[in-house]
Every structure is written in structure tokens, then in C-alpha cells.
């Protein structure tokens, strides 16, 4: 599903070159739930932004769902982000001017989906996260946990091949964090491939596999997955 080989990301200024990722290798199989951990500044978020095609990389190879992405232009990258990847951000990143329904609808509109299908998917996704009754609410009217659930619904609505979560519980209290984590586990059990960046070792331990990053390199990989992944898309579940 996600394979990076000898990948590097260099930030250059006039006087200094900084390697955010160096000779980075990772292979995430379809249906895996991988937790990516590491200290601050280790390159976790850089990995996630490159994995999510939010940023380009400097060298190496990256295959996403069998596609070598380094040669893709901006439009093609947008299309892949829209169709194959679902994002869950630490700060939820809901659009404050739009209500819950319209927020979940955003990626579906960019896909050019018809209104009836959009509506069906949005309501299914909101039902899935238990927020169908809040469809007309604005993000500011929801708790942090509910906002993150909306963000998850937004990520799920497009039936992505890969869910990328950046500290999904980082802004939540323990109880809400537990709820969100349980939701992610449930989504994974239904067949989704999830890559989650986290600081929290307790959360990381609940993932199927842990990847540790230090100084832009993968230093520790769990050898064996704790359970087998399902070869199915999230929406197929």
C-alpha cells in the first residue's frame, strides 16, 4: 500500500542543508495499522506529509497503492489525495464556516460526485461516527472529541485506501482520546489501512505495528504484526 525506499527530504537554505528524512525506508501493507513514533523533530510529521502527498520529497522512491508518485504533477497528486487518502489531523482542521454536513462534503465535492451520492455517503459516515444528529451544527458548537469524529467522518466518506492520522488524540482529554482511538481500531478492524503518528506510547501500543523514527530514519520496526490485516477498503466494510 505504502512503500518508501531510500527516501530523503532536505530543506535547503543559502547556508545550510537540513535532512528531515534520510535514507528512509518503510513498507506498509494493505490493511495494516501502523503507529509511527519518535521524539519531536525526528521527522514523523515530514514522513506523514510526504506519505499524504502534501509535500514532495528530495530523493528516493515512494509507491502509493502501486503508483510511483515522484513524477506526478500537482493535479494528479490532488486527485490521489482526494480518492485514495483520508487525513485526520491533530487540530481536526474542520472548516469553521461550514456546518458538519458541509465539512464532510468537502472532499466529495472535489471528486465531482453527484449530490444524491454525496448525501448518502455523508450520512453514512456521520452515522458511523455517531454524529448524524449534529449534521447542521458548526464545529464551534461541538466538543473536541466530536470535532475529531467529524474529521474522521470526513476522512471516511471518500472511502480512502489509506488513512493518515497525525496525533489524532493530541488535542483531546483522556476520555475523548480513548473514544477516538476505539473508533480508529474499529475502522481498522473493518479493513482500513491506517498510519498514525503519535507521541503517546500507550496509543502506539494499540496499533498493529510500531515504527520508530529518530533523526529522519526508521530505527526500529516490529517484526511481526499482532493480527492480520483485512484486504478491504474502509468503505467496503
Amino acid at each position: 500500500m505504502l512503500k518508501m525506499t531510500h527516501l530523503s527530504k532536505v530543506y535547503r537554505t543559502e547556508v545550510v542543508e537540513t535532512y528531515a528524512l534520510r535514507d528512509f525506508n518503510i513498507d506498509v501493507k494493505e490493511g495494516e495499522f501502523v503507529a509511527v513514533t519518535g521524539p519531536s523533530g525526528s521527522g514523523k510529521t515530514t514522513f506523514l506529509t510526504i506519505a499524504g502527498l502534501l509535500e514532495t520529497f528530495t530523493g528516493g522512491h515512494y509507491h502509493l497503492d502501486g503508483i510511483e508518485v515522484s513524477q506526478l504533477n500537482d493535479n494528479a497528486r490532488s486527485k490521489i489525495r482526494n480518492e485514495k487518502i483520508g487525513f485526520i489531523f491533530q487540530a481536526f482542521n474542520l472548516i469553521p464556516d461550514l456546518n458538519v454536513y458541509d465539512n464532510v462534503e468537502v472532499p466529495l465535492r472535489y471528486r465531482g460526485m453527484k449530490a444524491a451520492e454525496r448525501k448518502q455517503r455523508i450520512m453514512d459516515a456521520l452515522e458511523r461516527v455517531g454524529l448524524a444528529s449534529r449534521a447542521k451544527h458548526y464545529p464551534a458548537e461541538l466538543s473536541g472529541g466530536q470535532q475529531q469524529r467529524v474529521a474522521i467522518a470526513r476522512a471516511l466518506a471518500g472511502s480512502p485506501r489509506l488513512l493518515l492520522a497525525d496525533e489524532p488524540t493530541g488535542n483531546l482529554d483522556t476520555q475523548m482520546a480513548r473514544g477516538v482511538m476505539e473508533l480508529l481500531e474499529e475502522i481498522h478492524r473493518e479493513g482500513a489501512t491506517i498510519v498514525m503518528v503519535t507521541h503517546d506510547p500507550e496509543l502506539a501500543a494499540r496499533a498493529q505495528r510500531n515504527v520508530h523514527i529518530i533523526d529522519g530514519q526508521v530505527v526500529d520496526l516490529s517484526e511481526e504484526p499482532r493480527f492480520h490485516a483485512h484486504n478491504a477498503r474502509v468503505a467496503d466494510a
Partner: protein, 409 residues
């Protein structure tokens, strides 16, 4: 299309949205009405007098210390001297001429008993040289004969057996086109004047809106007015105008020194007459043009400012949209559509305001009715201006990278 979510988002930014829409509305209302004023004024500026205006010189003459009864013989001497000058084609004497700013106006009718006037007209008192000197085009009938010309005291003037009229007046009096040979009654006279000639066009001396409804109604009377005031019109050969501007008044002083030719507006080419007559119209047109340009610039700047502010404010949101699959084109079209929706709201209100403002101006200032074409053109122009103004900030927004979604504010 993203219209529904854009409208939903705009509802949550009411202040900026309403202010820009109002600015667009006011600009449309003012620009539409200003354009009407500009058109009216430029129509004025380009209205033909009916004369051949090139190579035409005017000299204002005032006799001083001269018995009024002597003015006919003095006038004849002047005219003979002017007509004898090298470079002069012809010359005439008249109480007034088109665009002069002052003259006679009166009512005219086709029957003596009819109380209600059929038309208003100006009277030009001149001689058989008037047509040639002024360069008027006779489209029917004949010119005055020398034996029909006489001098008359303006206080004793009643009427003349024959007159020449402008076509506009002829058509007004006799709409079936049969004016030639028919009669008219002017200035309340009981004796008729027979129309012996019709000139294609002859404008009145005034350019103000009050004379707008009889701007081309003129009667040429075959009489020269005695008295101290009058104007000589001199048609020159091509290339002689500048020389005669100095030579003609010099000759008149040489003929008789008992006169004043004012320094200001005393000797003028007809180009100068036209320029001075329409100075206020030109000034008003320029002023309205500047007002339009400034308003449009302010509106464009307002749109640029607000959109730039919104782009800055929504940088993260744009990044999120990009992360969720929006292409650069999607972001560009989002801001263009948003601006179009605000603009559409503005122009709808503006069109109503423009028409309302025009109705008020029509009722209070004799302004022309606003054509819906002007409103439509204004609507299109303002929407295009809005789209043009929003383009740069929208393009800047489209360049926000998707990774912006992961950055903390």
C-alpha cells in the same frame, strides 16, 4: 459548483460581504447615472450647428458715441470693407449666431389666432450674405434677394413678408414636409411670413438644457438691427483665418474708431466659440469621468483588500481544502465564485439604486431617463472589474501548498 457552501460561508462573514456588496451597488448606481450625464454632455459637444465651422471668424462690435440712426450706414461701410479684404470669402452682420450664448427667442405658430404656441424658436436677423458666410445648406427654396433686406429698429420690429427657417422648425410646423411656401406667425405678429427657404440645420445660440427642446428651431429674418450691438461674421479663404483674426478688427478700427471690440471674446474663431460654449459641458463630462474612475478604482481596491485579507485569514483552511483534494484551479474558482456571488448581490441592489437615483434626478434636474442598456453594461463592467480585481489574491490563494494544513497557526 460550490455555490451552496460558499453562500453558507459568506453568511458567517456578513460584515465584509455586505460592505463590499454595498460598495459595488453604490458604484453601479453612481457610474450608470454619471455615464448618462457624460453621454448627454458629449452629445452636446458634438452637436453640429449647421454651419461650416472652419474658416469662420466672429467679431463683436459695439458702437460708442454714435447715433443709433447712423448705425445702418456705418454697418454697410463695415461690411463693404470686410467683403473687400483679401482672403475674405464673404461677411455678414447679425444679432447673434449659434453657440454665441445670447440672442432672441420667441414663439411661432402657423395661424395668427392660435393661442398655444406650436414651437419655440430663435430669430437670427441678418442679410442675403448670411447663408454663404455661415456656410448653411439650403435644402429647399431660395436665399433672400438683396431687395428684401432692410435695416430695422428692434423696438419697432413687427414681422417680415419672407423668412428662411431651419428644417427642424419647418417639420415641426408642417410635419407633412410642405412648409415651403407656407406661412408662419412669430413673436405674436398678426401678419404672416412666408417660408421661402429651408436650411438643413441651424442651431440656436444657447447650449443649456433649457433650450434643449428647440435647439435646432431657427428663423432667419431678412432684417439688420439698428443699435449699438451686433456681430460680424467673416468667412475666410482656407489658411487666412489666423491672419484675418488680427487684420479684420484692425480694418474695422481703420474704417471707424467710434467702436469697442472687447478684448475678451471680441474676436473669436468659431473653434474658440465652440470651445467656450461647451466649456461647462466638457468640464462636467471630465468631472463625471474622474468620479467614475475613482469610484471604480476604490471598488476594485476594496475587493482586492478584502479578498487578500480573507486569503490570509483562510490560509490554513485553503491548505486543508488542498489536502482533501482541491486542485489549484478549485481554489482559484472558489475565490472567483465567491467574488461573483458578492458582486451579483451588489449589482442587483445597484441596478435598483441606479434606476431609483435616475428617477429622482429626472424629476429634479431634467436628466435623461436611464436606459436599461446602461444598467446592463454597468452590471457586466462591474462584475468583470470584480473578477479582475480578485484574480491576483485568488491566484495567491491557489498557490497555498497543501502542507499548510499540517502547520499550526
Amino acid at each position: 459548483m460550490q455555490i451552496k457552501p460558499i453562500l453558507a460561508a459568506l453568511k458567517r462573514h456578513k460584515a465584509g460581504t455586505v460592505l463590499i456588496a454595498l460598495q459595488i451597488a453604490l458604484t453601479l448606481a453612481i457610474v450608470c447615472n454619471a455615464l448618462i450625464i457624460i453621454r448627454q454632455r458629449t452629445e452636446h459637444l458634438s452637436r453640429p450647428t449647421g454651419m461650416i465651422e472652419t474658416d469662420l471668424l466672429t467679431v463683436a462690435n459695439r458702437w460708442v458715441g454714435v447715433d443709433e440712426k447712423a448705425t445702418p450706414s456705418l454697418g454697410k461701410t463695415d461690411l463693404e470693407a470686410l467683403r473687400g479684404m483679401p482672403g475674405v470669402v464673404d461677411a455678414t452682420y447679425a444679432n447673434s449666431y449659434p453657440l454665441r450664448g445670447g440672442g432672441w427667442s420667441t414663439s411661432v405658430n402657423i395661424t395668427p389666432e392660435k393661442k398655444k404656441e406650436m414651437a419655440h424658436t430663435t430669430l437670427y436677423f441678418s442679410d442675403d450674405h448670411a447663408l454663404a458666410t455661415m456656410g448653411l445648406k439650403l435644402v429647399g427654396g431660395r436665399n433672400f434677394r438683396p431687395d428684401e433686406i432692410d435695416w430695422v429698429d428692434p423696438k419697432a420690429f413687427d414681422t417680415t413678408p419672407v423668412v428662411i427657417v431651419s428644417k427642424a422648425l419647418a417639420d415641426k410646423l408642417y410635419p407633412d414636409g410642405s412648409a415651403l411656401g407656407k406661412v408662419l406667425y412669430h413673436s405674436g405678429a398678426t401678419k404672416p411670413s412666408t417660408i421661402i427657404g429651408i436650411v438643413e440645420r441651424l442651431q440656436v445660440p444657447w447650449t443649456g438644457t433649457w433650450a434643449g427642446n428647440f435647439a435646432e428651431n431657427a428663423i432667419l429674418i431678412p432684417r439688420l438691427l439698428t443699435g449699438n450691438f451686433g456681430s460680424y461674421l467673416v468667412r475666410t479663404q482656407p489658411g487666412q483665418l489666423e491672419r484675418l483674426t488680427k487684420a479684420a478688427p484692425a480694418l474695422l478700427f481703420k474704417t471707424n474708431r467710434m467702436r469697442v471690440i472687447p478684448d475678451e471674446r471680441g474676436v473669436r474663431t468659431f473653434a474658440q466659440v465652440r470651445e467656450q460654449a461647451y466649456k461647462s459641458d466638457r468640464g462636467m463630462a471630465v468631472l463625471m469621468g474622474v468620479v467614475c474612475a475613482v469610484l471604480l478604482a476604490i471598488t476594485a481596491a476594496g475587493i482586492v483588500g478584502l479578498t487578500s485579507f480573507w486569503v490570509g485569514q483562510r490560509r490554513k483552511q485553503i491548505g486543508v481544502r488542498r489536502a482533501l483534494g482541491a486542485t489549484r484551479h478549485d481554489i482559484l474558482s472558489y475565490f472567483l465564485t465567491e467574488n461573483l456571488l458578492i458582486g451579483a448581490g451588489g449589482v442587483i441592489v445597484g441596478a435598483v439604486l441606479a434606476i431609483g437615483m435616475n428617477l429622482w434626478l429626472v424629476s429634479h434636474f431634467e436628466m435623461e431617463r436611464l436606459s436599461l442598456l446602461y444598467v446592463a453594461a454597468g452590471v457586466v463592467a462591474l462584475l468583470l472589474l470584480g473578477q479582475g480585481a480578485v484574480l491576483a489574491p485568488a491566484m495567491k490563494a491557489s498557490r497555498v501548498p497543501p502542507v499548510e494544513a499540517t502547520r499550526s497557526v
